[in-house]
């Protein structure tokens, strides 16, 4: 008996291993020309695991206080063996993860994988994307450099524009009226405890729902398969699909290695709360479309403050995005076209505003 079989037998005797993995052996995944889009969710999960691993390693040296944060990150980047690599991978992986999460979400939308019975899968996934943005926002401040300091100042000011509860949200996020060391400690808490806790629960739910309902087949492919059943193709999850998924992970890992080694994440200069904000300050790319929109809205729109109107509009768009599967018109055939059109408008708007924000002075 091989050592592997012996371990399997040992586990089987105690936990009923064979019974536990039986569904995996029988699990299949639809196989068609659009199957490649399915890998985006797996790549996002893989990058999340990298985030957790490198984040834990950074925690060994990082010190969350205004006096020590910058110096500790500088120490990690220059003195700790492979510290630069861990930090660079953490930063690049965060950006890649948000990109693949966006791509995954839009692929789900355009392949209409959100439809019944997968509404809750969509809802949990959209919430996970918002959490990823929260990770990005809170993590950006942690090196306590000039850009991060002022980006946080602007970001929390935007949150303060929410009618009625805005000032309270701003105070809660900052831990006082201004961005200070208290904000850094608070953001650190959000980044390493609050957000990971919520994410773990939601991610568990999301994966359980994916497992429960299986992977969706695009309606057009489904119709084609109904019309000619001999064209229906399925692939065993284990090992066929999983091996392909591993290939996607390795490709992501290669991209990550190139980015981290050739373009190590910079440190900037230590934040000085008394210094003026640098000219042309911009947030991270994933907030750029919202930032640019708020910049373009006039100071006063009719009777409303322009910025308040922008924040409310983004809030409404975000809420609508969450409930998209429930909002799809179902009474008439082709009601889904409204959702697809909404998705096309959203992706075009986000992409063009991001480019505009990047090029604008």
């Amino acid at each position: 008996m091989s050592p592997f079989a012996r371990v399997q037998s040992w586990l089987d005797e105690r936990f009923g291993w064979a019974e536990l993995i039986a569904p995996l052996k029988h699990k299949t995944v639809p196989h068609h020309k659009l199957s490649y889009w399915y890998f985006l969710g797996g790549i996002t999960l893989f990058l999340f695991v990298i985030q957790v691993t490198t984040g834990i390693l950074l925690l060994l040296y990082y010190r969350p206080s205004a006096n020590e944060a910058f110096e500790s990150v500088q120490y990690i980047s220059t003195q700790v063996r492979f510290g630069w690599l861990v930090r660079s991978i953490h930063s690049w992986s965060a950006n890649l993860m948000i990109f693949t999460a966006f791509a995954h979400m839009f692929s789900v939308l355009f392949l209409r994988a959100y439809r019944k019975p997968r509404e809750l899968t969509w809802l949990s996934g959209a919430l996970l994307l918002f959490l990823a943005l929260g990770f990005g926002f809170s993590g950006y401040l942690l090196p306590w450099n000039t850009l991060a300091f002022f980006a946080t100042k602007v970001g929390t000011e935007v949150a303060g524009q929410v009618p009625v509860i805005g000032p309270w949200i701003m105070m809660f996020l900052r831990g006082g009226p201004d961005v200070t060391g208290a904000t850094l400690t608070r953001f650190f808490g959000f980044h390493v405890a609050v957000l990971p806790g919520i994410t773990t629960v939601l991610l568990g739910l999301h994966l359980a729902l994916v497992q429960r309902f299986g992977i969706s087949v695009p309606p057009r492919v489904e119709k084609q398969w109904e019309y000619s059943p001999h064209e229906r193709q399925e692939m065993k999850f284990f090992p066929n699909f999983l091996l392909r998924e591993v290939m996607a992970w390795y490709t992501a890992l290669a991209a990550l290695a190139v980015l981290a080694a050739l373009f190590p994440w910079g440190l900037g200069t230590k934040a000085d709360p008394f210094a003026p904000a640098p000219a042309g300050i911009k947030p991270e790319w994933y907030f750029l479309f919202a930032f640019q929109t708020l910049k373009l809205i006039p100071a006063k729109v009719l009777f409303m403050d322009g910025e308040v109107l922008g924040v409310l509009a983004f809030g409404a768009a975000g809420a609508l995005w969450l409930i998209l599967p429930f909002a799809e018109p179902k009474r008439r055939a082709g009601g889904y076209r409204a959702v697809i059109a909404f998705g096309i408008v959203a992706v075009t708007y986000i992409a063009s505003m991001t480019v505009y924000g990047y090029l604008a002075k």
Binding site: N240, R244, M247, Y250, L253, A257, V258, A261, G266, L267
Partner: protein
């Protein structure tokens, strides 16, 4: 009918009341002079911008008369003086500007020795001898548009002084009678001092009045040129005082700083000035084979060496930084080497190669450290790239292996 009369009466009363309510007093001078042609034209806007008007002075303060009266505005009985003769202008301005108690009411920090200083100036002396072509107060400060010197629009603001002086001193025809050059402004415009003032906006940089004085304007003269420069360049002056050049310059009647650096056209100094090359200043006096020229050559060699080391360090650190390496501490250290080079350049004024060498040595020690930091950063970068290449090979091989495995399973 009564109703219409009452409305008209109220309107007239209202129109009369408006200037009183707005705190305005009648100024018959401006009523007419705003309509006249130059040079008698004075507009209300121009006069309102005048510092004197802002402090409550009126036309009558200088010209006499009664601006509030149509009949007595230009009446000699009301003390009307009319046009002020150029010869009388300094005394007229001095009437208030020498009165410390009076001036204190408006500006406690304003000096009151302008008139006495003016009397000691070339301008003041020539005016006293009957030459009315020379500058009087209004030529520099303006007449009805006088602004405080702190105002950038003022003709006597540091940024504008050189231009103000040049109005006369660059005018060849105007200056013909005085037999003095008219190229000062052109020379100054090329100087390092002008660059600091006009380009970098450094208001502490010297302009005409810094060296020549303002109200007591006089040429500094050969004997005092060093004193003028040393008010800012203190350390260079001290070194020069202790140098072998001091006695030699005095014996030859050479005016210190100006001998090597010129006066108005002080261009940025360079290390070639102390060398044996074509741009050397030393060779003007010292002949080939002279021991002093050997010293100059030694000093130049020290400076050149440190400058090259700094450039070399900067280049390697910049390359490392562009490759994403963290070399901020070394970049910061390199500033110390640049400081040492500046100190060495100042030490030249003592004309002792050993003093220059001491300053250069501290900079060389820093550059050795920073160059090493740059080399190590580049070595680390290459090590990372090697690591990346190996990782990519492993990942590539794994991907090929996985693909082959899938093919095998599915075949």
């Amino acid at each position: 009918m009564h109703h219409i009369f009452a409305v008209r009466l109220a309107s007239v009363f209202f129109l009369l009341l408006v200037p009183v309510c707005l705190g305005q007093t009648k100024n018959t001078c401006l009523d007419c002079h705003s309509l006249l042609d130059a040079p008698l034209k004075v507009t209300a806007e121009e006069f309102a911008a005048n510092i004197h008007a802002q402090k409550g002075l009126t036309c009558a303060s200088c010209h006499g008369g009664d601006p509030t009266s149509d009949d007595n505005a230009m009446s000699p009985k009301a003390g009307f003086r009319g046009h002020i003769d150029r010869k009388r202008i300094p005394e007229l301005c001095g009437k208030c500007h020498t009165d410390a108690a009076y001036i204190r009411q408006y500006n406690p920090s304003l000096r009151t020795d302008q008139l006495s200083q003016y009397h000691t100036s070339v301008h003041g002396k020539k005016l006293a001898s009957g030459d009315t072509h020379v500058a009087v107060c209004t030529d520099c400060h303006g007449i009805h548009n006088i602004r405080p010197a702190s105002d950038v629009r003022s003709s006597v603001n540091p940024l504008n002084i050189a231009t103000t002086c040049s109005h006369c001193h660059s005018d060849v025809n105007y200056m013909k009678a005085y037999v003095i050059p008219t190229v000062q402004f052109a020379d100054y415009s090329k100087s390092v001092h002008h660059e600091a003032m006009a380009v970098r906006g450094d208001l502490s940089a010297p302009t005409c009045t810094t060296c020549h004085g303002n109200h007591g304007a006089a040429p500094p003269g050969v004997g005092t040129a060093k004193n003028v420069c040393s008010t800012c360049h203190v350390y260079q002056s001290q070194l020069f005082e202790e140098s072998p050049h001091k006695a030699a310059f005095e014996a030859a009647g050479l005016p210190g700083c100006v001998t090597c650096h010129s006066n108005h056209a002080i261009t940025p100094p360079n290390d070639e000035m102390v060398s044996t090359g074509e741009r050397s200043i030393c060779t003007t006096c010292h002949a080939e084979g002279d021991a002093a020229l050997q010293a100059a050559s030694g000093i130049h060699g020290h400076l050149r060496d440190l400058e090259l080391r700094i450039t070399r360090s900067k280049q390697i650190l910049d390359r490392a930084e562009e490759s994403g390496m963290e070399v901020s501490q070394a970049q910061l250290d390199l500033i110390q080497a640049s400081d040492a080079l500046t100190k060495a350049r100042v030490a030249i004024h003592g004309f002792r190669p050993d003093k220059v060498a001491n300053e250069v040595a501290s900079g060389q020690a820093v550059t050795e450290k920073t160059y090493k930091a740059g080399t190590e950063a580049l070595r680390e970068r290459n090590y990372r790239r090697l690591g990346l290449s190996i990782s990519l090979l492993v990942i590539g091989a794994t991907l090929i292996g996985l693909r082959l495995w899938i093919r095998e399973i599915e075949s």
